[in-house]
């Protein structure tokens, strides 16, 4: 009996290569050899929190409806990394943070992250977890209407939406735009990216959101790991072009190889 699952040999090799590339990129990052481009959407987070402080209005950080056990878990983790950063900034600068929750398994983790940020800044007494991180609902439109209602009442100056989003993305983006909030949207859900692009001030497209945690950390080691994504993307691009050229010439070796 074969130990490896049939048709997953190439994905396994790709996974191991990604692991090696990430390790190499981290080592290069440690040595300060890696420079990455600025991501305006992530640079603007501080601006949003500062704006909220000046206007005396709250900041919303919405991490979507994802859970830890579905295929969108990585987006949820990216959203939580940003929540950690946003809550730290809010605690430090004195902006009131609201992060309404939709997933019961993510709720305690989010609450712990925000509490930890306020604790580290010595401002735990300024945080009311139940009020600022309310569990609204696990169903899509009940959650969406809850957030729309909160936004209309609290009129936040900024809104950061990073995580997995579905049809509610348009409702959020439009509602916060109407009340004059500065917005950052980021999701890897393909159909929602155009909605964010239409109404948000800054958009994180595709893999940018996965780099967010490392980017805002400022840690050279973590920033190095972002380079692995770019190396891998270049390899995919080269493979795609080569495959297209060979397929045009009637050679299907790349396609056959990827199906192994």
């Amino acid at each position: 009996m074969a130990i490896l699952t049939p048709n997953r040999l190439v994905p396994l090799a790709a996974f191991i290569l990604a692991w090696v590339a990430t390790y190499m990129a981290i080592q290069m990052g440690k040595q300060g050899k890696i420079k990455i481009r600025r991501i305006p959407g992530l640079d603007a987070i501080e601006e949003i929190v500062g704006r909220s402080v000046e206007m005396g209005r709250p900041v919303f950080d919405i991490i979507g409806m994802g859970v830890f056990t579905d295929i969108y878990a990585t987006q949820t983790i990216a959203g939580l990394s940003i929540l950690s950063y946003v809550s730290t900034l809010c605690a430090r600068l004195g902006a009131k943070l609201y992060a309404p929750q939709a997933s019961v398994d993510v709720l305690p983790v989010a609450a712990e992250i925000v509490s930890e940020s306020y604790r580290m800044e010595g401002k735990l007494e300024e945080l009311d977890v139940e009020e600022q991180l309310p569990y609204l609902s696990g169903t899509q439109f009940a959650w969406a209407s809850g957030i729309i209602g909160m936004a209309a009442r609290l009129r936040p100056a900024g809104n950061i939406m990073i995580g997995p989003f579905w049809a509610e993305s348009m409702m959020f983006a439009e509602t916060f735009d109407r009340i004059g909030a500065m917005q950052i949207g980021g999701t890897a859900r393909m159909y929602q990216i155009p909605f964010f692009a239409a109404l948000c001030d800054y958009v994180l497209i595709g893999e940018e959101m996965f780099a967010a945690g490392a980017y805002v950390s400022g840690d050279p080691q973590q920033i190095g790991s972002i380079a692995a994504q770019d190396w891998y993307k270049l390899a995919a691009l080269a493979l795609g072009i080569l495959g297209a050229l060979l397929a045009t010439a009637g050679v299907t070796i790349i396609g056959d190889l990827l199906r192994m």
């Binding site: 699952t5 983790i77 019961v104 139940e130 439109f141 969406a144 049809a167 109407r178 595709g206 959101m209």
Partner: protein
Amino acid sequence: MDYRRDIPLAITFLVGIIAVLDYYTTLEAVTNTFTVIKNWGVVLQAFALGLGAVNLFRVHGKRVSERTREDWMFSGWLLLMLVLFVVVGLGTGQYDASTSYQWIYNSLYLPLGATMYSSLAFYMAYGSYKVLRARNFEAALLFITAVLVIIGNTPIFPATFPVFFNIREWIFGPIVSGAYRGIRIGVGIGAVVLGIKTLVGLETGYLGRR
């Protein structure tokens, strides 16, 4: 040793490695172990659901008891509905299959959900209006493309002039599919790298600032 940081990282690594092995190998011991872990996950989620209900009761119960906010009656309504659904679901012994439960679900929840969903049309109209103002060259290109797609999607135009259907197909094919695939590849790679970083304990944002 910072146990609040190291223990979650060790659990993440162990469970992550088992999940990866389960996907790539056919080892029975790994499959059985991962099945047990997945069952634990289901149990934990059930407990977390209880936590969500407790959170709702605490937050909204406080609002109802204080009555200082203008919207306290909505909190009361929410708690009433929460209790009603649980009582009807458990009381009949048939849970969500009971006629009474289905009646309140179909009469109360479903129309509200449908209303919210249908309101998307207005949100989209607002979004379209905002984005389709030809203020610069790129926006003008987007506007022209959108108009061509709308014409191609409206039956009367392709029926009269088939070229509109071909234009729409061309936009959706080489242009949109090409761009989407580029983004999809980036998303896939980003997710894999983030997964690896989480496994090896480099990505700790989900643990807070530790």
